[in-house]
Amino acid sequence: MSPATKSNNPLLPKERIKVPRQLMPEQPAQERAHNFEEVNLGYSSELAQQEALRCLECAKPTCTDYCPVGIDVKAFVQKIVIGDFLGAAAKIREANVLPAITGRVCPQEDQCEGKCLLSKKVKPLGIGYLERFVADYEQRMGTHIVPHATPTGKKVAVVGSGPSGLTVAGDLIQKGHQVRVFEALHEIGGVLVYGIPEFRLPKQIVREQIDYMRQMGVEFETDVVVGRTVTIDELLEEEGYDAVYIGTGAGLPQFMNIRGEHLNGVYSANEFLTRINLMKAYKFPVYDEPMLDLHGKHVAVIGGGNTALDAIRSALRLGAEKAYVIYRRSDAEMPARAEEVHHARQEGIDFQMLTAPVEFLSDGKGWLTGARCVRMELGEPDASGRRRPVPKEGSEFELPLSVAVIAIGTSANPIVQSTTPGLDTNKRGYIQASEETQRTTRKGVFAGGDIVTGAATVILAMGAGRRAANSIHEYLTTAAW
């Protein structure tokens, strides 16, 4: 370690390894399965400082290399060790404008924590928990340091207020550009408000992060469907924007095209979660948006990603008697965050692995009564590199269900692409953008997040937003394309 970064950690590396990873306090499983309160309760200052002591302060930290937005993990953790929590928050904010959110929803096991040197011998450093702690601490103290940059006179329109759009907005406002974010829905936050449930990401946290961005000077306009209400060309030519960032997110839900998918009781995960999270259907009739009564019902979700788990854990909280995950591959291939799978199992979700529905069954009056399923076994790897599931002959069985939620992915939303001449898309309809600069085929137009990559994670969308912000800044200051 160079003298310039002299450690304040009183422990020797071999002593640090002996400190156990500090457990995240959480609501008891039996209790939380019946409410929408957050599952994880957050570290105390003591727990955070104890956990921070475990950092080995690597000379070449791989955690930062594997962070899609490149947070200087070592530096912020060192600040926690000495109790400078606000300094730690400021350090994170240099790279990440939404730490309270990523601390909660990032798949840390595949990124920073997955590469933590500690994990070779013991459990990795709780980087996500620490990030969450400092972000929440900063919020509680109410002492945000609001940076103000010298105005450049340039205007940027951001289309979509999800994680990638918010990242672009937060980064560009700090570089002195004027930023206006357009959102199609009535609430700011995109998937953070319509997709991820309260028990995993309280909406109050999202609102606080957005309020902070407002304080920094970001403008927001809701109820604008870019492509319909106003086009990209109109933003550039008539409304005087110098650049546009498209971060419109995941699109229409995919269906399996099996019999009975149109039955009443079969939902897409997007609709199911939108009713619950955005429209607060779980508070019907205080809120007007209805949803089917799940009390005492058997509910299944089809799929193995975070969206699938969000949906089925919501169903459990809405009173489902049996809550199944039906996934056609095995545990090892499940794309969901490890902590969510763990929490879901604790809560009593019944995982039907290596299983797929082949038909939804009806009562003859248009309502779902069950699914005919088949067991699978894993064959050779497919295009995704995961072993392809193959149906086992003679393994069909019927599962009685009142509600089935399909969470097998999304396809590209066509609205912006179909109304913006010269904006090229790939075969699947997603916008073509450079992986380095997020530039599209239209001058001054950048894109990132799910509308470029297809459905991915919050942090990957934020990573794209960060690259786009740098590249938009370069474009605005040099005019070179």
Partner: protein, 298 residues
């Protein structure tokens, strides 16, 4: 917030609102709709755009009271505010010179059929319009439709105005009289659009219907508005709302629109009850609509 600059009943239970929405007014094309939400706890509902004035920055919507939200909406007056109005949504009608177009409007669907009829007329078509309603009082936009049609035929279910019968009777007559028809556009109740489509299928006349499934975001995200077209799922908000009537599975649409009937009835009952008790309590006060909206949420 979107201001209602004018509100007026066109018929019992059917109200037209002129709303300040400059961005939407500038972009609206025939066949499109808006989604609105009246207050914080409200649901999002799709509503027909009847017309727009890009100069004044206003759109006209026409709403028939059916459930709680539409009933509440129809209690709003000039000067009241609507929390969210988003649009114009959906693909516009495909307007070109087809030759002769028959535009069929059933009930409040006439409001959505009207801008399409007007645009077809402007595009050079011979426009024959058929407007149907349950009774005389519920015939709306008669003079507007007449102004953009080469001929306007009206039917009422009970014969209280014009000819007794259904819009399909008039369409059948036109066909039987040997009228050359190149396009039929039908907007109205599902049973009406289904009957029209069945009639024209036999005659092989291209028929466009505008579907009204349950919808939440309306922007191609949730997939709640999926309809079955030619045996496959399509989404009314981005693939529609207009579809080839000969390919639509109307029975699935009827079935899916009934999904929340129990909840909708519960909402309506509670709403009526709260209105009654409110009237009983504050019979003398002249509470404004918006405060009574808030009051009813308690």
């Amino acid at each position: 917030m979107f201001k209602i600059v004018h509100a007026q009943f066109l018929a019992p239970g059917i109200k037209r609102f002129v709303i300040e929405a400059p961005r939407i007014a500038r972009k609206q094309k025939p066949g499109q709709f808006v989604i609105l939400r009246i207050y914080e706890e409200g649901e999002r509902i799709p509503v027909t755009i009847e017309n727009s004035d890009p100069e004044k920055g206003t759109i006209n919507i026409v709403v028939q009271a059916a459930g709680k939200t539409t009933t509440l909406l129809n209690s709003l007056e000039t000067g009241d505010l609507i929390l969210d109005v988003v649009g114009p949504l959906g693909k516009p009608s495909e307007i070109k010179n087809y030759g002769t177009a028959v535009v069929v409007g059933g009930g409040v669907g006439t409001a959505m059929a009207y801008p399409t009829a007007a645009a077809l007329k402007r595009a050079g078509n011979r426009v024959l319009s058929i407007v149907g309603a349950r009774n005389k009082e519920l015939v709306i936009l008669e003079s507007e439709m007449r102004a953009v049609s080469d001929a306007l035929l009206i039917t009422t279910d009970d014969g209280s105005y014009a000819d007794k019968g259904f819009v399909t009777d008039k369409l059948r007559q036109l066909i039987q009289n040997g009228t050359r028809i190149d396009l039929v556009v039908a907007v109205g109740p599902i049973v009406m659009m289904k009957a029209v489509s069945e009639l024209t299928r036999k005659e092989n006349i291209h028929t466009v219907v505008s579907l009204n499934p349950i919808m939440i975001d309306g922007t191609g995200m949730c997939g709640g508005c999926r309809v079955m077209i030619d045996g496959k799922s399509e989404f009314a908000c981005v693939d529609g709302p207009e579809f080839d009537g000969h390919k639509v599975n109307f029975d699935v649409l009827v079935q899916r629109n009934a999904m929340y009937r129990t909840a909708e009835q519960q909402s309506m009952e509670e709403y009526k009850h709260s209105r009654e008790s409110e009237h009983a309590c504050v019979a003398t006060s002249s509470s404004t609509t918006s405060s009574s909206l808030r009051g009813e949420k308690r």
